[in-house]
Amino acid sequence: MSLTVFSLAVLFTSVGAGAVGSILGLGGGILLIPILTIFYGVDIHYAMGASIISVIATSSGAAASYLRTGLSNLRVGLFLVMATISGALVGALLAGVVPVRALELILGLALSYSAFTTIRQLHDELPEHLGEDRHAIRFDLGGRYHDLRLQREVTYRAQRVAPGFAAMFGAGLLSGMLGIGSGAFKVLAMDYLMRLPMKVSTATSNFMIGLTASASAGIYFSRGDINVLIVAPVAIGVLAGAYLGTTLMARMRNTTVRKLFLPIVVYLAISMILRGLGIHLL
């Protein structure tokens, strides 16, 4: 394929990945890696290198806007990312020691359960009442934002902080051991366990994934997995897409974001169960 055609095609694809990633707090790798490898014939290592850059670009592009509007909660993000990074470090050390397939099966089943809980609360626009969790009060894990869709201030406070923190450690652990992104788990932990508004959950996940990705980008770089000719159009497209995504998401209902998120959880659950059974979709 000629470089011009390739660059333009990848650029437009990346706009979509950046928009979806910034709305759902995922970073877009889940979409980008299959598209790059299946449709453009990109080597899986280059695709993963492009994905890690796309996560950082989505995160920086989106978090800049979300932090300013209060959708991304800096304190919640920094507090929880301590758990995720330490989990990822432990996970990287344990990689190769634990039985991966059993782990993937367990994860797939846990995600299936998460899909059901997501369906059950599909129509909850906002968490009902403010929590009284002592860790949330101690660490100031709450905030407010002006919801452009609901046309009012939304005040929230995290609940069940200790289980949420543990889940974040688990998310990091799994991503370290299995080499998968943990954006979706972060959103589930904040939305389902900690009862943060869905939009706050995805926006805060967006901020967090940039931090964890920048920590692991170095290894992709030194391995030679980052090919400038492939990554450059991805980065440009994703930055533009993230800008578009933040503009759209600020005007969406929390329930809409959750409905868009559900298929991702279902897809992850199925692909993890299949991987556990020895069938790789990719």
């Binding site: 394929m1 000629s2 470089l3 390739f6 660059s7 453009y40 014939g41 990109v42 080597d43 280059y46 850059i53 950082i56 670009a57 995160s59 920086s60 592009g61 978090a63 800049a64 806007s65 932090l67 300013r68 509007t69 209060g70 991304s72 800096l74 304190r75 920094l78 990312v81 301590m82 990074i85 330490s86 990822a88 470090l89 660490f139 905030g143 407010r144 934002y145 002006h146 940039g210 931090l211 990705a213 920048s214 920590a215 692991s216 980008a217 170095g218 290894i219 770089f221 030194s222 391995r223 030679g224 980052i226 090919n227 400038v228 000719l229 990554v231 450059a232 980065a235 440009i236 930055l239």
Partner: protein, 136 residues
Amino acid sequence: MSAARPGPAGAVESLVARTLLAGGLIGLALILAGGALYAAHGGFHHHVVHPTRPPGGAPPGVFTSVRQVLDGLRRHPMDPLAVTALGLVALMATPIVAVALAIAGFLRAGDRRYAAIAAIVLAMLVVSLAVAGGIH
């Protein structure tokens, strides 16, 4: 009293937001500049993209260290792809710089607890980078 718009972001949030935006824009500018130089050198006419890894040796467009990027910038004529690679390095470093500045921001706001948390996060990021380098 709080500003009606753009929202209830505090000083530290604004500082981190501005850092992320600046890092993203600097990265974008360098990526585009490198691309424009590459096009000016006829790169887009001559090259067919190699989406797969060739056995042995790195193909054009792959840099494996910051030193290689800087070497590419110093070369005569300058390697346009090194400019783009520098943009990618800027992008990769942006979140880490943002956390470092958040420490100062929290201290200035008198929030020692979160200055400490941000410092812990920064230390963890540095350790992760070091571990990654060590594995390689």
